[in-house]
Amino acid sequence: MNFEWDIISEYYPILLKGAILALQYTVICIILSLILGLLVAILRVLKISKIVDGILNSYISIFREIPLLVILYFIFFGLSQIRLIMPASVAGILAITLNEGAFIAEIIRGGFESIHKEQWESAIALRMTKIQAIKYVILPQAIKKVIPSLVGQSSSILKDTAILAVIAIEELTFSSKIIFNATFNGLTSFGSVALLYVMLFLIINVIGIKLEKAFKNSN
């Protein structure tokens, strides 16, 4: 079996479309899960009530320990049983966001806990409300510390978009199957897609490193 460049030149539109779609989903999911994760982390740190804390902790526990695929099937197929039908794309984004949101909430919580208690105390002594303290003092410091982990999580999100293939969204992994079914040349079809994923992964990493530097300098 050889790597056939002919196949690439013939099918590259599909590959391109798949890659772009994968990137689009990745970006959307990164933004949404960051928002969700941030929200959950802040709510937890505000310690509003034991009930709220309990709900949030359960959310994090559950969605970190159930495989993404199960979450996806549950949302896409399971909810349809109770008449909650949604387009595949929405189900996919929802599943990934809920899953990754839990991880990001934990990462940000780690960031919060690594900030010295004295920072809180100084802010309160200056008569800031809890929310102001978080906004101006704690959050900026915490984010700076967890940028590397967040970048790592973003590359996870890129890999997560691959599961959208099982609900027939034509992103990159789906494209690989299309090409394989057409050509039966595994090396080319899967190999080229694997390569594309690694390239996208490296791009995300490079952006991440630049972000890290930018944050370091903005001190």
């Binding site: 526990s61 559950i62 320990e65 159930i66 495989p67 993404l68 695929l69 199960v70 979450i71 099937y73 549950f74 197929f77 399971g78 909810l79 349809s80 049983q81 109770i82 590359s155 890129l158 890999k159 997560d160 978009t161 691959a162 599961i163 293939a165 099982v166 992994t173 690989s176 199957k177 394989f180 595994g186 899967f190 897609v193 694997a194 994923y197 690694v198 390239m199 996208l200 992964f201 490296l202």
Partner: protein, 200 residues
């Protein structure tokens, strides 16, 4: 579901051996291993399942392909964990052991390995939890594990909700118990022995 312990064991085996090799920093081999690790960090598990299924040409039995994919991808992460653990054991420990007359094997067995195990166990357990979750992806190549059974059942009965609910519960219980056991071991055994050295 038997692939879980098999894949775990093989991934640990491969990962630790490669981790040791990587810590020795042999020129060409190290580069190749770095490439392997980066690839595993970038390629989605589902795609890897497809690739392994195709590579093994089994056609009928996806079990081996699933195990291969799980071992290859998780092995890479375990390699890095193992390498970190080896490098975290203070080099001077070997010197102290040597000065007391312990030979190489005695140093490894009594001094270096115990510390290594205590240092890496939290991270390794974390990785094994990820492996358990990843077994769900074996369903996409037709391996009859929980999810695939669920999908088949769903197509037969049109009752997806309870099916996937129960599979979710299963995974949750499996992973959560592993985590709780790990936390218990960590706080009672590791902290007592090594003190507060949590991260390395």
């Amino acid at each position: 579901m038997a692939i879980i312990p098999i894949a775990m064991f093989l991934a640990l085996f491969v990962g630790i051996i490669l981790g040791v090799i990587r810590s020795m920093k042999i020129p060409v081999i190290n580069q190749i291993l770095s490439l392997y690790i980066i690839t595993m960090r970038g390629v989605p598990t589902i795609l890897l399942m497809f690739i392994c299924y195709f590579v093994l040409n089994t056609g009928s039995d996806p079990r081996t392909a699933a195990i291969l994919a799980l071992v290859v991808s998780n092995g890479a992460y375990i390699t890095e964990i193992a390498r970190g653990g080896i490098e975290a054991v203070d080099k001077r420990q070997r010197e102290a052991a040597k000065s007391l007359g312990l030979n190489l094997w005695q140093s490894i067995y009594y001094i270096i390995m115990p510390q290594f195990i205590l240092l890496v166990s939290p991270a390794i357990v974390g990785q094994l939890v990820l492996l358990i979750k990843a077994t769900a992806y074996a369903s996409v190549i037709g391996y009859i594990e929980l999810i695939k059974m669920g999908v088949n059942l769903m197509q037969a009965t049109f009752l997806p909700l309870p099916i996937f609910f129960y599979s979710a519960v299963f995974y949750f219980i499996a992973c959560h118990s592993l985590k709780k056991i790990a936390d218990y071991i960590d706080s009672n055994v590791r902290m007592k022995i090594m003190g507060e050295k949590k991260d390395y």
